[in-house]
């Protein structure tokens, strides 16, 4: 029997609109690394992935206990400062 239990996700809102979703219970350190790398790509004009999707400006970050909570409009835990956004 399949379970719908999910691990915590980090949702990174972007200036361009579409958020980044980091699944599989990412740590603060892992999210920091993603933010740094994404900012670097924005600065040098590199794509955000092998498909050529443009890199995006990350504006805030939140933890959600379950990804579905985000889609249902629940409020997550703001971790923007902890991962170096707006510092």
């Amino acid at each position: 029997m399949m379970s719908d239990i999910q691990t915590r996700v980090a949702v990174l809102e972007t200036k361009e609109g579409q958020p980044f979703i980091l699944r599989a219970n990412p740590t603060i350190k892992e999210i920091q690394g993603f933010v740094r790398e994404q900012n670097r790509r924005v600065d040098v004009g590199a794509p955000a992935g092998p498909s050529g999707i443009p890199a995006r400006h990350i504006t805030s970050a939140k933890y959600f206990d379950n990804e579905v909570d985000m889609y249902e409009g629940k409020s997550g835990t703001d971790i923007s400062g902890a991962v170096g956004i707006g510092a």
Binding site: M2, I5, R41, G49, P50, S51
Partner: protein
């Protein structure tokens, strides 16, 4: 681009709907979530077993190897709600073949997953519960190219289904 409707998908689409026979594993309840997965196995390979494949942490004949099972690197199946705003979201027109398209899903990576090298996407019966021998594949198709992911990468996938 190669694509395939798996035996589990046939059960859900035809036998379950028309005969009322429950699928095993069960499809999500209305409002529950399908899982969108990526795998290293291309649809066009392993053709000898292409009617009934299983998710597996190892590759091999008749098996679909999902990425990120040893090292996630930020990967997990993306949830798609079982409803008309998720999938199936009918987009076909009367008089034409039925078709449906789900909202775009994104995957972002905090590191290189193991296994890496996604060649295909799959609509699965659940968002978790992956195990060797777990046959929960509905349908899938090849990606435009094999994608090797690293920290900072993101991938967008929009699934579409059409009966012909």
């Amino acid at each position: 681009m190669a694509y395939i409707l798996m035996q589990q998908g046939e059960d859900a689409f035809i036998r379950t709907t028309l005969a009322g026979v429950a699928a095993s594993p069960a499809i999500p309840n209305p409002g529950g979530n399908w899982g969108l997965a990526m795998a290293t196995t291309a649809v066009g390979s392993n053709t000898a077993a292409n009617k009934e494949r299983v998710m597996s942490t190892t590759s091999g004949t008749g098996k679909i190897q999902e990425i990120g099972q040893s090292v996630a690197g930020g990967y997990a199946r993306a949830p798609i709600v079982r409803s008309a705003v998720g999938w199936p979201n009918p987009t076909g027109h009367p008089g034409a073949s039925y078709s449906s398209t789900s909202p775009q899903q994104s995957f972002s990576f905090t590191g290189a997953p193991t296994a890496n090298g996604a060649a295909s996407w799959w609509l699965c019966k659940g968002t978790t519960g992956i195990s060797v021998g777990s046959d929960d594949l509905m349908f899938g198709a090849d990606l435009a190219a094999i994608r090797n992911f690293a920290a900072g990468d993101t991938e967008n996938i929009t699934i579409s289904y059409q009966q012909t």
